[in-house]
Subunit: 155 residues, 2 copies
């Protein structure tokens, strides 16, 4: 399978291996730094995902170039947050992360991977510039976001 370069470089499996191999402190000085980092990643991802959503929902005119730029950022961001759910980062800062993340890491990692795979498709669709394809990929990605948030994020 021909996967984008950054995905090859930082696949979900590699991230999981990295998290397993290193204490949280190796990447973040304090648990709250990890929490703030992953929340920031989600904020940036959500902003750019929302801009594609506005086009998909017809709230703003479709702009293929803007859609591709936004999907690119969503893709980059999708690779980042999961290194910041290491051991000990369930507490220490205002977080909506549910304990289920650390109780059932395999399920969490599968949900993360599903989102990342949908985002790869969204990025490809956006690069292609076909609004119908973008709509489909956007919907599939939104489902993956919602499913993971339902299971692993407090309302």
């Amino acid at each position: 399978m021909n996967r984008p370069k950054f995905v090859r470089r930082a696949s979900a499996a590699a991230i999981v291996a990295l998290v397993a191999a290193l204490p949280a402190v190796a990447q973040f000085a304090k648990p709250e730094d990890a929490i703030e980092y992953r929340q920031s990643v989600m904020t940036v991802m959500g902003a750019h995902f929302g801009r594609i959503g506005a086009m998909v929902q017809g709230k703003v005119p479709f702009d293929a170039k803007a859609a591709a730029e936004n999907a690119h950022v969503v893709h980059e961001m999708s690779l980042l947050p999961f290194s910041a759910f290491g051991p000990g980062t369930d507490l220490g800062h205002d977080t909506k992360a549910k304990p289920a993340i650390w109780k059932d890491p395999a399920k969490f990692q599968a949900a993360a991977k599903d989102m990342q795979q949908q985002v790869v498709k969204l990025d490809a669709a956006a690069k292609g510039g076909n609004l119908d394809a973008i709509k489909t990929a956007f919907g599939d990605t939104a489902k993956a976001c919602k499913s993971c948030h339902d299971d692993f994020r407090e309302k």
Copy 2:
């Protein structure tokens, strides 16, 4: 000049033009959304820049692959925050942004562009894998960050 693809796609000039052409509301529903977005971008950028810094300062062993991955993220993030300093985003959320940003936009944009150019060099140096080159580019980038923060961010 052969510039990286994403820089061509979203140059500082293009971002400035975009900010000038669109009301803030076109990109962010509320000023606080813009503020939270740009703060999030800075948090992510800072985390990855700091990881390169730890290698440059000898606090962690040099890992060329990790340096390149971190510089890649720094580069991506360096392109994002300046769309979120639009008119009306000087207030409305806890922000350290100084009024000078809106009083002297040309100076702010020049500082932003300088940072982005240093980051392009840092990204190139990190891809090259030579620690001495990374040290030089890291130092130049850190200077650009500090200079802009001194002028445009409250302590």
